[in-house]
Symmetry: C2
Subunit: 328 residues, 2 copies
Amino acid sequence: MKIAVDAWGGDYAPVEILKGIKNAVFNDLELIVIGSKQKLSPLYSELNMNEDLFPIEDTPQVIEMKEHPAEAIRKKPQSTIVRGVQLLAQKKIDAFISAGNSGALMAAAWFGLQRIADIERPAIATLIPNVDSSTVLLDVGANVDCKPKQLLHFGVMGAEYAKAALNIERPRVGLLTIGEEEGKGNELVKSAYQYFKNRCDFLNFEFIGNVEGHDIIDGKADVVVCDGFTGNALLKFGEGLLEFINNMLFLHIVDEELRKRLKEVWKRFDRSEIGGAPLLGVEGICMVCHGKSRARDLTSAIFRAKDLVEQKMAERIRDGLSHLNCIQ
Amino acid sequence: MKIAVDAWGGDYAPVEILKGIKNAVFNDLELIVIGSKQKLSPLYSELNMNEDLFPIEDTPQVIEMKEHPAEAIRKKPQSTIVRGVQLLAQKKIDAFISAGNSGALMAAAWFGLQRIADIERPAIATLIPNVDSSTVLLDVGANVDCKPKQLLHFGVMGAEYAKAALNIERPRVGLLTIGEEEGKGNELVKSAYQYFKNRCDFLNFEFIGNVEGHDIIDGKADVVVCDGFTGNALLKFGEGLLEFINNMLFLHIVDEELRKRLKEVWKRFDRSEIGGAPLLGVEGICMVCHGKSRARDLTSAIFRAKDLVEQKMAERIRDGLSHLNCIQ
């Protein structure tokens, strides 16, 4: 299996990215590093990395975090992100991981990768810690304005991700809204509800109806579906809240023993345990990592990607959708 | 000043509500209790409350939490929520507070209260703890589908709330979206951005452009504006997350001293410190409290309402809007 990683993606690139790659060495896993060979060589020496073990895909350009996605991928065809997606499209690699400009990654994937079956819009799925295990939340940012049918597709894809990543046989999928009863929510959710309800005999999951924001945490659903605007706002709000609480707790608690204990408890919210968010709905595994990813996040993301390749995510999704071919 | 409280609103009504009212006795503040006199009398004896000090507005019906809002207010004209709103509309009281069915409270206010100037949609504003103090977030549930102009009005109302509740002279108001740059976000936000931008010389606040979910926490903005669907999902997600963390911390940390210290730190997230969320845009102060409100929440809500009456919120909003009369 071949997994390529964008060496120049994220705030702590390239050193933390390289360290993360180095720590992911595993059996016959081939790890390809995408970036400028000239710039990578001295770092390879410094980190005791070997080009035989970690071949470099020499790619001179880098899309910066602040660049406009669509423009950037047009202007920089030799960038790490565009190259990674190309390799994936050409099936030269099985998975591509980047902690760089996520908009650019999505745009490149959007134009460069084949979509699965009749998926109109790929979606980014992430795992949110809940009281029992984790909840799959999608979309968290690939699509700002969605159509009802697209939410149904997100449900299908999210369910397959829950099966693969959380080992759940028949995931419970809920629609994020305000108020639990049928008929509650905005126009999008009300229409989407009917799509789910009318097809519940053909679904690859159990549709549990509407869920609310707190249900993402209380473990009521295995998968929560929403538009990418809401999902992204929620995810970033949660991140901000966790960071605030974390800082506050450790600011006020100086006792070493207690800090150790707290850290143990806090692990549950460690982003690096989650390891990146796949863009579902395209052929090949394309993983989006947080811009603040450190070595450990990258290592987790590589293993997550490896797992999804082994689990044949694209085939799973195609299969999940095949039951729904009645949908117009 | 007269403030009326719905004695039968919320999961812990009526006892916790009554205790909260009892603890809010203050100078010339007149506290009116809305509920069935027959049922309240024995509780008054039990809690050592006096009808001279806490007059009862005898109201036999109660709207349950699960009832359909619009139907319920039509079917139960003698309910505590409908009566409270009526008293407010008739200017017999200055503020009305309920922890009951919030949808019914909004519907009753929607039909029963006069709207301020050209406000099309009232919005619920809440305070979210941030690293420095608090951020005003609105709308958190009154409007599931919004128009761009309505978001501008939310900005005006939120700014006045920040001035009154947080004592900020010229609040920084941001539009919640994905990506900070102009032109990022869904169709609603992109249009709303232009409304804000084109009128920034006439605003009662500083428009700081787009903000993201984490900015609600990091104190970048004093007011964050969003549609009520996103705001509600966010708020409930945050509540779920806080409850989860709280339970987890206290489950794993048994040391008495550390628990005490943690509780001290955790106070920052205590809902009862916030004290209810006003419905802005209507004449009179109408406060929505959490369905799980306890005595302390109610007491805080009463003082928050008292403060907003003194600060003449409706006049402030009318004034903030008057600068914008160019808007169509």
